[in-house]
């Protein structure tokens, strides 16, 4: 009736046969070809009951509605700002999507200037990949100072952790301000020594994201680097 051809949580390659039989349901990152389910990309296979999908491990960021990202202002138009969000497409922040009331003849550079980094929400992605951003959301803000580090966008969930537990642990241990964008841009602001520790940790998480026991390993590594004892907050 149905036969799995690969083990759960292993890396699969494009066109690889994942399962046989009509029992299984092809979800994201897979497709059905006659009675076989096939991977449509390089990814980590995820089997949930009868549903098979692949989680991407590589590739540029694909903009999604409701993502909070870090963007860089690259151009200023009459009606707003053009943002580089590190994907194939740029986003548009309209003056109507800011918290301030901006007059028609206002100098837009006073709000966000070219080269500024902002935390912004994606509110719309059309089929032609026109992207609208907004600064009305709670977490949105302009980023002052600090530095930006680029990570694999597919590792962002691990860097943030369940309900932010991982990134909170790192923030508390290093005293750095950290904001992780869904698009793989991470803003860090703290003392030089601590920022360097944060970057080390982030790179370690990127490399070991799929290995179990990550939180404990990172905790040990953090304790070693900062010479502090860390308690992991229990997440409900």
């Amino acid at each position: 009736m149905g036969k799995l051809l690969v083990e759960d949580k292993t890396i699969v390659t494009p066109g690889e046969e994942l399962a046989e039989g009509m029992d299984f349901l092809p979800a994201e990152g897979t497709f059905r070809d006659k009675d076989k389910i096939i991977s449509s990309r390089l990814g980590l296979i995820n089997i949930n009951g009868r549903v098979i999908k692949t989680i991407p491990v590589a590739g540029r960021y694909t903009p999604k509605k409701e993502d909070t990202i870090i963007a860089k202002v690259t151009n200023i138009l009459m009606s707003g700002w053009i943002l580089d969000i590190d994907s194939a497409y740029s986003a548009m922040l309209s003056v109507k999507e800011t918290r301030d009331f901006i007059r028609r003849d206002a100098d837009l550079t006073r709000y966000y200037n070219i080269g500024d980094y902002i935390v912004t929400d994606i509110v719309m992605v059309t089929s032609q990949k026109l992207i609208d951003a907004s600064m009305k959301g709670l977490g949105t803000r302009k980023l002052i100072g600090g530095r930006i580090v680029k990570v694999n966008p597919h590792k962002v969930p691990r860097i943030i952790g369940k309900k932010g537990s991982m990134v909170s642990m790192i923030k508390n241990a290093t005293g750095c301000n950290i904001i992780v964008g869904q698009n793989g841009l991470v803003w860090i602001n703290g003392s030089p020594e601590n920022e360097i520790i944060v970057v080390k940790i982030i790179r370690k998480i990127e490399q070991e994201a799929h290995i179990s026991g990550l939180t404990d390993r990172i905790k040990t590594f953090l304790e070693k680097e900062t010479n502090k004892k860390i308690s992991i907050q229990k997440v409900e």
Binding site: I11, T13, P14, G15, S40, V57, R60, S127, K129, I211
Partner: protein, 236 residues
Amino acid sequence: MAYTKRNDGRKFDETRPIEAKAGVIKRADGSAYFKIGKTAAYVAVYGPREIHPKFLQNPRNGKLRCYYNMMPFSSMGNRVRPGANRRAKEIAMVTEKALLPVVDLTEFPNSVVDVFIELPQTDAGTRCAGICAASMALADAGIPMKGMVAAVSMGRVDDKLVVDLDYSEESYEKGTVADIPIAIVSNTQEVSLLQMDGELSRDELKQAIEIVKKSCSKIDKIQRNALKERYEVKNE
């Protein structure tokens, strides 16, 4: 005179030794290295990204763009003058056609996926090595693909059909030679690259394609292993 033994002692259906590695160029979105005998190819994939000039945009589908180049010191003999020549342009085009059947760029309208193929060392079979590396690099870049592509040059040296012609066989003087680069799509076993230089009978062509399918199947395994090795979890 009949060609009874290959110059390097290989069996008639044996390829030269193969080395494959993914993720070799950090700046790229995806990359790979593929070496067969002395022919080595590096491929970097950048994309999906904005396409310039804008008039090349396709609002329905992303575009795949390939470039092929041999480094000036790559061949036995005189230095190869840098710059795109007619041969390089043609190879780039057939490489693109060889990869298109597996690549799915419908999610990336108005953008381009650039594939750059560079060879630091050549000993025949360069376009095939480029295609093998490009297929891996595209997967490494997380591009949606229905399968992968492997390619190898079949040859007819005198009266024998041989797999993976090397330069000494290509320039065999004691009899006639045909050089037939062929690319096979993994899942469907369909042919996505077919060229021929020399003389060949219809029957020989049929045989050649069947032999190449077997070789490409072996190459396919090597390509996939290289991709998995890159992302595989290293358990402590």
